[in-house]
Symmetry: C2
Subunit: 232 residues, 2 copies
């Protein structure tokens, strides 16, 4: 599903360069559930942004489902970002002037234009259900600044799941959630993975990483360790 070779990312600020990724080699097959861990600033989000086709590497190759991503057209990339991949951002990235319901509906409107599934009137229903599944049925018309941190995070998760992507990239999806809600979210992810959806999840909490089947540890732009999680 995912193949990266010699992935490098260098950010240049004025005359200062930061080498966020220093040569990542990694393969992730279909149905995998991978946890990505590592120190703050070790390159996890940079890696996720490249996997999610939201940013491109300075060097190296990224193959998604066998095809080189740098060969994809603008349309193909947009379709991947909105339908194939569900992305939960570390900072939520909700539109502040848009209600929870409309934020979650967005990926569906894109697929609508690209003549994928559901009719227009269904998209609001589908978005509503996604929010209900995350315990937000009585917050659907709230704006992000009218939601608690954990509620904003759950809206971001609902948005990532709503178009039933085949790959979920979640960057610290439980950072703002209490233990009980975190366990509920991880149960949702586990169920989706059992149904065949591939998941790559960044977390700094070992309890959360234990839900995955494999842990990849980043350190200073490199992969330090890559091992299977012993079955519980």
């Amino acid at each position: 599903l995912i193949e990266v070779r010699g992935l490098k990312k260098i950010y240049t600020t004025g005359d200062v360069s930061v080498e966020a990724l220093k040569g990542i080699n990694l393969s992730i097959s279909n149905d995998e559930f991978v946890a990505v861990m590592g120190a703050s600033g070790s390159g996890k989000s940079t890696f996720m942004n490249i996997l999610g086709c939201l940013d491109s590497p300075t060097e190296g190759e990224y193959y998604l489902e066998g095809s080189p991503v740098n060969s994809f057209s603008k349309d193909k990339l947009a379709e991947i970002r909105n339908s194939t991949i569900g992305f939960v951002f570390q900072g939520f990235n909700l539109l502040s002037r848009t209600t929870a319901l409309d934020n979650v509906e967005l990926p569906l409107l894109y697929s609508l234009e690209s003549a994928k599934s559901s009719k227009k009137q269904d998209t609001k229903k589908i978005a509503k259900r996604a929010l209900e599944n995350l315990g937000l049925s009585d917050r659907i018309h709230h704006y992000p600044n009218q939601l608690s941190g954990g509620q904003q995070q759950r809206v971001a998760i609902a948005r990532a799941l709503v178009s039933q992507p085949s790959l979920i990239l979640a960057d610290e999806p439980t950072g703002n959630l209490d233990s009980r809600t975190s366990v509920e979210i991880m149960a949702v992810f586990q169920k989706l993975n059992e149904q065949g959806i591939s998941i790559v999840l960044v977390t700094h909490e070992m309890d959360i990483a234990q839900y995955a089947k494999r842990i990849v540890e980043f350190r200073d732009g490199h992969i330090l360790r890559d091992h299977m999680v012993p079955r519980q």
Copy 2:
């Protein structure tokens, strides 16, 4: 130090009301180190915003150092927010068009105007040191969007500490930090508490709460439990 009685907070959105706090009674003395826990949406940040004089209750009283906060002048409130209290926001609240160094310097510039300590040329030095203490010496000229999630969080923490406040209110200060950095941050908080600084810290991680001396548990706008942490 802190005395709240019958604290209520109701948010009204259109014709819908949300009762975020339903009558909080709580006392916190000097030198205390209190962890606030509870489910997502249970009222923790709302409570912290009122304690931090960033918002006012719909009902009830809040006494800070014996005086009723609702009697404070605008200037007194501004001084409290910038010098007396160091606030770490759940969402960081960094100014996006401002470098890490300048973000951290802000509270000092306020005290400067109010003819408190340090001369102008020192404020940049003091801010620089605060960032160095949190391992960000090589990021001081970066803008927030050029920083990782955990680095942004550390800038927010540096800003809260820079004016040497007597009370620190930290809302999920380790949510985006790896375990090692979290432990370092908690060690800083413990050291400050031993020096007499009072700390109220919201967290959803029990490991983090264990650093505190007392745990107050919120549920649905109420205080469910309030107990001391057994000495380790």
